[in-house]
Symmetry: C2
Subunit: 641 residues, 2 copies
């Protein structure tokens, strides 16, 4: 049923059925602009930075010490540190697939060799459990992360198999032995357990897709079915922390730890797709819909609670305590992409765009060597910029940090950026769909027809015009579909052959026998706009945000003359936001609050927003770019006058 692709597509997710089929890194190239810049920084700075910290913290050396038997008991790094090495391998695999970097290829092989030596004879591979002086294998399913680590090993192997199918480095064989060990240990006759952190589920399905061995799919389905039955036991934050309080098929919304929730849902979609299980697929689609409607920040960020890195209840979306973990953003992209492939609905691509621009790209600093773990929407105090030469022990640090004690985000950003071209376009029997707009090229050879070549030219998201030029001929008609984002519900147009027509959110399609030189121009309205929150979101009642295209904007204190306080601004919504001097600008007044000994009082005067001074023109900054100019305060949601 799941079949190994003889000529694998170099993409992270390859369902054997579904509405759309992905195009890989070998078919889509990003040649410039916003994302190419970030891919360059990722390749030139972040990957080396990650390698440096993995060595410095001893997380790769743990594998050496296991191999030599020197690691007895105490080791460096948290229980899941192996997974960072695997995510680094995955990022390198995609990057090698993207650019063919030979120096990176040799670094990749060196790490694989060190990992290989730590594998036990029966395939078990983990540096924290199961060796002399360590706790026994699988002795802490709640927190041990052993299956989670195997999952990331498999994902690295999948990335390698799809980008360098003939490589002799041995990573796929290592992964296969580890996956076999998991199936033997946790199969129908094995330990009736599951991992506290989902990840193995999606990984096993991809591994099944890559190897053609359905045994891995069966094991993934078993893990999905076991969850929600209380097998993991209780923890301080409740069983919903790891989604073990309600079976996947019965849950109606994502809840608990936001990364775990998204990874699990992604794995469930994979299982549903491969086993043709519409009930399971529908359950996850419903969960996604409710989560996006009631539990997602305007940035696409997810997770409202610091305590357990978790979703809050419906409408609990505090700006100042937004956790919005970078990895939850990555997980949300993973989930939405799978649902997009399954359904073809543009709403999934809308969320991917929003999350990439406003969460994933917010995490790394401009230099690619510091990262946000959480992505608040409101910083009230300047705080202290983390030490650039020490791992931060605080995930919610006041600024980007070079590394963390739990350092899941840097490697997650790296693997996402390196594989980003695979999220741009898809194909189906009718033609080609373009979901994300980048300057780039698409080359696709359908099984039954001539090659299709397309060139995208755009300065998006700085400019709303996207030129799609066809560079190949085809006598048979095919459909070109261009996503019109949900935010572009007023004024989007498509121009073909000099004729312009309005385009509604969804996909603007054109079917014809395309000729070399044909051009379609999509114009998206990029005037900055005020965005209002649903009346049920208590945390930002009476506020507006400003958006322009897919970008969320923010006011940052470094842009206020005289070191103004972002918390004293009231925006005058009678003046629409505008672009002036290259900046998005809004008109504000300053709050003139009286100071009381007690902040609650009778009479509306207590909460009245008296203002002082003249109307100010306040420049905003794209949210993803904030906190690159020294300590600052910031807010996305601004109270209205």
């Amino acid at each position: 049923m799941t079949m190994a692709h003889s000529a694998p597509t170099a993409a992270p997710v390859l369902p054997s059925r579904g509405r759309l089929r992905p195009l890989g890194l070998d078919e889509v190239r990003i040649t410039g602009g916003f994302w190419a810049e970030r891919q360059s920084v990722n390749a030139a700075a972040s990957l080396g930075h990650i390698a440096h910290w993995l060595e410095r913290e001893g997380w790769i050396r743990n594998f050496d010490l296991i191999a030599t038997g020197e690691l007895a008991g105490e080791r460096r790094g948290r229980e899941f540190s192996d997974s960072e090495v695997y995510k680094f391998l995955e990022a390198m695999a995609w990057e090698i697939g993207r650019t063919g970097d030979l120096e990176l290829e040799s670094r990749f092989r060196a790490v694989v060799t060190r990992v290989a030596r730590a594998q036990d004879a029966d395939g078990y591979l983990n540096t924290k459990f199961g060796h002399p002086g360590q706790p026994p294998r699988w002795s802490d399913l709640q927190w041990g992360h052993e299956l989670y680590c195997v999952g990331h090993l498999l994902q690295a192997a999948v990335a390698r198999a799809r980008t360098r199918p003939d490589a002799d480095d041995g990573l796929v064989a290592i992964a296969r032995r580890a996956a076999d060990n998991v199936c033997e240990t946790f199969g129908p006759d094995g330990i009736d357990g599951l991992c506290g952190h989902p990840e193995i589920e999606a990984a096993l399905v991809e591994f099944a897709r890559t190897t053609g061995d359905d045994r891995y799919l069966g094991q993934a389905a078993l893990f999905v079915d076991r969850r929600g039955t209380g097998r993991l036991g209780d923890v301080e934050w409740g069983r919903e922390y790891f989604q073990d309080e309600t079976p996947v098929r019965e849950a109606t919304v994502l809840r608990g730890h936001a990364v775990r929730a998204n990874y699990l849902a992604a794995g469930a979609v994979d299982v549903a797709a491969e086993t043709d299980d519409p009930g399971l697929m529908k359950a996850v689609r419903d969960q996604w819909r409710n989560t996006v409607a009631r539990r997602t920040y305007i940035t696409g960020g997810q997770g409202s609670r610091h305590q357990d890195e978790a979703f809050g209840e419906d409408w609990v979306l505090p700006a100042d305590r937004a956790y919005s973990e970078t990895c939850a953003g990555v997980g949300s992209v993973m989930l939405a992409w799978r649902l997009l492939l399954a359904s073809g609905d543009s709403g999934y691509a809308d969320l991917i765009e929003r999350t990439l621009f406003n969460v994933v790209s917010t995490s790394p600093a401009a230099d690619g060597r510091q990262f946000y773990y959480t992505n608040t929407l409101h910083r009230r105090e300047l705080g202290t910029v983390p030490d650039g030469d020490r791992p931060s022990i605080r995930a919610a640090a006041a600024g980007r940090a070079p590394w963390f004690e739990v350092s899941c985000c840097p490697t997650n950003v790296a693997r996402t950026l390196a594989s980003l071209a695979a999220y741009v376009a898809t194909t189906d029997d009718e033609g080609l769909q373009i979901h994300q707009y980048v300057p780039g090229t698409i080359v696709h050879r359908p099984v039954d027809g001539p090659e299709r070549r397309v060139t995208l030219t755009t300065a998006y998201p700085e400019d709303g015009q996207i030129r799609v030029r066809i560079d190949s001929d085809d006598d048979r008609p095919w459909t070109l579909s261009l996503r019109v984002p949900g935010w572009a519900d007023q004024g989007a147009t498509v121009t073909i052959d000099g004729e312009t027509r309005p385009a509604a959110p969804g996909y603007a399609t054109e079917r014809r026998s395309w000729r070399r030189g044909d051009e379609v121009v999509l114009s998206l309205p990029l005037a900055p706009r005020f965005t209002y929150p649903d009346a049920r979101i208590d945390a930002v009642r009476g506020c507006v945000a400003v958006e322009r295209g897919p970008l969320v904007f923010a006011v940052e204190s470094v842009d206020l003359s005289g070191g103004g306080n972002v918390d004293e601004l009231l925006v005058d919504t009678r003046q629409p936001p505008m672009v002036a001097g290259g900046r998005v600008v809004v008109c504000c007044r300053r709050l003139d609050p009286s100071d009381h000994h007690w902040p609650y009082a009778g009479g509306e005067a207590a909460s009245a927003t008296a203002t002082r001074g003249d109307l100010l023109e306040v420049p905003l900054i794209a949210y993803h770019a904030w906190a690159n100019r020294g300590p600052s305060t910031m807010r996305v949601w601004i109270p209205t006058i």
Copy 2:
């Protein structure tokens, strides 16, 4: 300098100098009403309930096992479980002082005997550290809570010494040996350290006041001075978690863990009072003022963050994620009471009243056998009521729980309720001050004059009239001072000899040669009122709360006809809140929100508050009484139309 009182006042805090002097349990009796009812439940149910759980969880038995040498390594309870036994002893000591309960006296002695046997020869007393198989003494000052536990032991001994000065149970001697051990270990030539959880500071000062030995005061001053210098090292939540990032004298606001912050500040006031250190006193008064003005909930609750049980930054006061730990409320009362004694400013008594009525009395269920650890101001989901037969592992459980893995709150409530009469009234050279209104009697014998007897008659807070009758004669004039709460800024009056005059917030005073039968009537305005938040509190912008007298009110779902949703109510503030059918009632409309796939949209319509149906009269409930009628949702702050 600090002197043991030859006839000790039975009160928790006995400064040797300051503006006011407390009256003890032997001088003030609460004879009925709101607090007498809670004291009865505390005595009849809570103390036995606590005893049951302390035995069931093995926290008293830990002392037995240390005594017999059977406790090697692993033990039951968290590292601070000894302190719960001590707080239970303290609660019993006050209760015995209050009522003379003989059965309780014998239970008290039995526990003291078991504690005594666990004390090491050199005075060290702890069941978690320092014995075979355990970590060494003082090996984990950051988290070990050893000094914290000694602090609570001293407080228990102080309570005992002040209520039964001639008792032969030995508790004071045990405490003295433990305190001496602390001084020897942590004195100027000892370990240059301090405890991760403040408590020893205030306790040592009280112990100095009780024993007359200034050595304990010196040690307390040393601990206060050491804090804020980074000696404790860093933790995930930053050094401000235990107030170790800024010296007490330099800090401007309470921050970090809210219980730690209040306990530390209370200890610093004690040190400042005894060492006559106006700089230290002013620092804490400023911290208190800023904390109350910007970091305190309308209930008096403190702590905005679940993650680290901590204060948030200024204006971070989310209703739905209010932590407002019961023990932080107790700590806040401890601090405000000390500042009141030092200064005589009524604002401190105002906060005590608010916190007692809306935090401390909210924690216990009506039956006294279940407790809130945290006190949210907004519950959105019904949640699951905790198992009544299991300790809750979640401090922030959806309902009151019988016990917690960290079970600091039940014993803290118990010791506060048992000693509550000591917070009602004070004396000074001029006369008598009444700070809290209860039906009761006050009997005070000044050193240089005849006994003063006063009877208080009131149904407060149900009724605003408080009759103060003088039951003794005195030829020399003295001043009777009655606190007029800050909330009673419109319409409070005092009536004497048939003459009524307005009374402004602060203290209404009357000086005369009082005769038996003289009567003063204070009338406080008890019409329910709307209260608005400062414009800078983002979390409740556009909302009002309803208060009546010192009580904060809430809407609870069980009061909505047809199982309405508290999150769909919009209050019409043009209709003042009223009392109807014995309930406080407000007029509301129901929100009629459209459901969108994405909760952010252009145009104000997105956040407009369309309503449906007729104007509803919605009954409210006193916040302290909520969650006693089955699972419910609740909110204190209600959006306005």
